[in-house]
């Protein structure tokens, strides 16, 4: 069966419609069929629809995403309460241990993202992976930095990513590879993303799943949860009326 490729982290300048359109078209040209763009918390439905329209023109599906950067676990909980039902994907940038742990065990968090160059504040360890594997969170790895960094910093990043990918695989925690690209030149084909993932010892099959099956599963699961027919996992309304 043909894979459906997804990039859940495109970062265009939302104030520049031309830039948004160019990035979306490039993603479509490279073979992606589902993309997600982080939106501001106060984003209106009309803005979402505009991006959705651009994606539809490029024959792609669009998922709304929000990136949370809470400073404390309580701030994370209050943010989640406010925005969970407004966005299809919730990503948390975990830059403190308390926030990481809370995000990993909360079933409303989809993606765990760690500060890319602040290696001391990457709290993805075995405890974090175990918590995340018991909830639904997924480890997100942005590939943009692998392309832009050079020298010892890139070496260190590869070393950290190798360790994190190994831990995630050990706990059967899904990994999502995203581009994190803010311009077209940093976008890569899904197969090229998988090739880059080989640099931190992710097998080809796992890497391809990380750009296809895993991100698509997140969006599918959340769309089902956000639909009015959803009651609980595995239970949904199939018919309403007096004859039921």
């Amino acid at each position: 069966m043909r894979r459906l490729y997804a990039d859940l982290h495109l970062c265009p300048n939302l104030n520049d419609p031309k830039h948004v359109s160019a990035l979306i078209n490039k993603a479509s040209e490279l073979g992606y069929r589902l993309i997600a763009i982080p939106l501001p918390p106060n984003c209106t439905d009309q803005e979402k629809r505009q991006i959705q329209k651009l994606c539809a023109e490029a024959r792609m599906d669009f998922a709304s995403r929000i990136d949370l950067k809470p400073r404390t676990p309580n701030e994370l909980l209050s943010n989640l309460r406010r925005i969970r039902r407004r966005f299809e994907i919730v990503s948390v940038l975990c830059d403190s241990k308390n926030v990481s742990r809370q995000a990993a065990k909360d079933r409303r968090v989809d993606l765990l993202n760690f500060p890319p160059t602040d290696f001391r504040n990457r709290f993805f360890d075995m405890a974090e992976a175990e918590l995340a594997s018991n909830s639904v969170a997924t480890l997100e790895i942005d590939m943009q930095l692998l392309l832009t960094l050079e020298g010892p910093t890139r070496t260190r990043l590869l070393s950290v990513l190798r360790k994190e990918a190994g831990i995630a695989e050990g706990f059967h925690l899904p990994i999502v590879l995203s581009s994190g690209a803010s311009n077209e030149i940093l976008l890569r084909k899904p197969v090229e993303m998988a090739a880059l993932a080989s640099l931190f010892d992710l097998s080809k099959e796992s890497a391809l799943e990380a750009v296809s099956k895993n991100p698509v599963a997140i969006v599918k699961r959340n769309r089902e949860k956000l639909s009015p027919q959803f009651v609980a996992p595995g239970i949904r309304i199939v018919r309403k009326g007096k004859d039921c």
């Binding site: 392309l147 050079e150 030149i185 890569r188 084909k189 197969v191 090229e192 090739a195 880059l196």
Partner: protein, 105 residues
């Protein structure tokens, strides 16, 4: 002696700037060298087969054992000199003839 198996890669060069074949190939060697070191790069057997600067198209040859290395290195290229660039693998084949047929399709 064991025959070395090779693969031919058709590449699309995505950049607003035109590079000559030497510049491009040096950048490819540089990218492989940066990621895998001189020892790794020496095993790749990289050779330029065809290059069209205007169309942004190139065909290179790599040894089969180093194809994943080459793919990762090509994907990691973001600039030649100070000019931004992205290199995408369009197609891979075992013979030049089959590669061109694939591209035509």
């Amino acid at each position: 002696m064991k025959r070395i198996k090779r693969r031919y890669l058709a590449l699309a060069i995505d950049s607003g700037v035109v590079f000559d074949s030497r510049e491009f190939m040096d950048a490819v060697w540089g990218a492989v060298g940066k990621l895998y070191g001189e020892y790794g790069a020496s095993k790749s057997g990289l050779t330029m087969i065809d290059y069209d600067a205007e169309q942004g198209f190139a065909v290179i040859r790599v040894s089969l054992v180093a194809i994943d290395m080459a793919r990762a290195a090509l994907a990691s290229m973001t600039r030649i000199g100070n000019k931004p660039i992205a290199v995408h693998v369009v197609s891979v084949s075992g013979t030049i003839k089959a590669l061109y047929e694939k591209i035509k399709q």
